[in-house]
Symmetry: none
Subunit: 202 residues, 2 copies
């Protein structure tokens, strides 16, 4: 379901709004366009801190940015908030936040990327879909057992030629840990919650 995307977005929006400093900044920006310095003075925070908050607000579309020389002018993006309001007004929309939806979505991704023989057709480029595929793959290893790199490779090669990338991604997504050439599964609690958002964009 595209529902899943929606709910991830929604979560990020709420996270962006769940901080007093950022609400203050939004308040100021709702009045008029402002520069970083100006904002820092008004909310009594250092510029890097304000910059950090603005980056987050911008990432979720709550504010817009206009450059003028080396001054950056930020402004409220009013549609973002009214859109949010709209999304909240239906009870069904809220019901759509229930977790079961995720499994559905994952099944769909797997249908797309895995062929009838169980071979991975390609490694998804999108972070979320890659997560879904990796989750499926990692569950084919026993929890609590330790695998030498050679064996990890062997198992992965049964699914896709690029075992090196897959191994690396296991680590990156915290689905596996590695120590001196030996791999083991991490508990799903460590990664199952992250439906695949980047922590920061790097």
């Amino acid at each position: 379901m595209a529902d899943d995307n929606d709910s991830a977005d929604l979560l990020l929006l709420f996270k962006a709004l769940a901080d007093r400093s950022r609400l203050n900044l939004l308040g100021l920006l709702a009045q008029r366009e402002r520069s970083v310095q100006e904002l820092a003075a008004e909310v009594v925070l250092k510029e890097p801190t304000v910059s950090h908050h603005l980056a987050m607000l911008k990432r979720v579309g709550l504010v817009s940015l206009r450059h003028d020389a080396n001054t950056h002018w930020y402004a409220l993006q009013p549609d973002a908030i009214t859109d949010l309001a709209k999304r909240l007004s239906s009870r069904d929309a809220i019901a759509g936040l229930a977790p079961e939806a995720a499994d559905d979505w994952q099944a769909k991704v797997l249908e797309t990327f895995v062929d009838a023989d169980g071979k991975l057709k390609s490694i998804p480029a999108s972070r979320k879909k890659r997560w879904a595929v990796l989750a499926w793959l990692v569950r084919q290893f026993d929890e609590g057992r330790r695998y030498p790199e050679k064996e990890v490779n062997a198992r992965l090669l049964a699914r896709h030629w690029d075992s090196a990338t897959l191994r690396r991604e296991f680590i990156g997504y915290r689905m596996m840990a590695r120590e001196s050439g030996v791999y083991w599964r991490l508990p799903e609690s460590a990664w199952a919650a992250e439906t695949g958002e980047p922590f920061q964009d790097a």
Copy 2:
């Protein structure tokens, strides 16, 4: 002043919504009433964790609770969300989130020293912050009413274990007066101006 409350409420609402597990729970509760066990199974969390989340959702009015024997049935409180949606739809409402100098500072102090249940985590050491906290506390007593020491203690104990210190500070900051074991509030004009002038403790 009412603004201040509003924005504090709003912040708590967003904080409650800014967590994937709680969004999942809300989704399930939007479908129908559910017990803690049931929810724990569906979101794959332990019961105490779910209990913790539900307490927060309830505190901000997003869910309601009904007891039946020792089963607790939680349900979505749909008005809470539509109300939120309404509050977001006006640009002026957002502009109202802008900080208001002193008030905002006091709000920030309170956020730091008062936990979500309204308990005072500790008595600030800095004079100014202690002033802010005491001002908040003393406003919970009616003006013009007289309180025997026992009742002052009882009320303070709801906020912090060291009621004796708090009582003494009320006197020191001229927020209350005492005569033969009976206490009463002094008018704010007597102390509201001193955002923490030297008065001498002890």
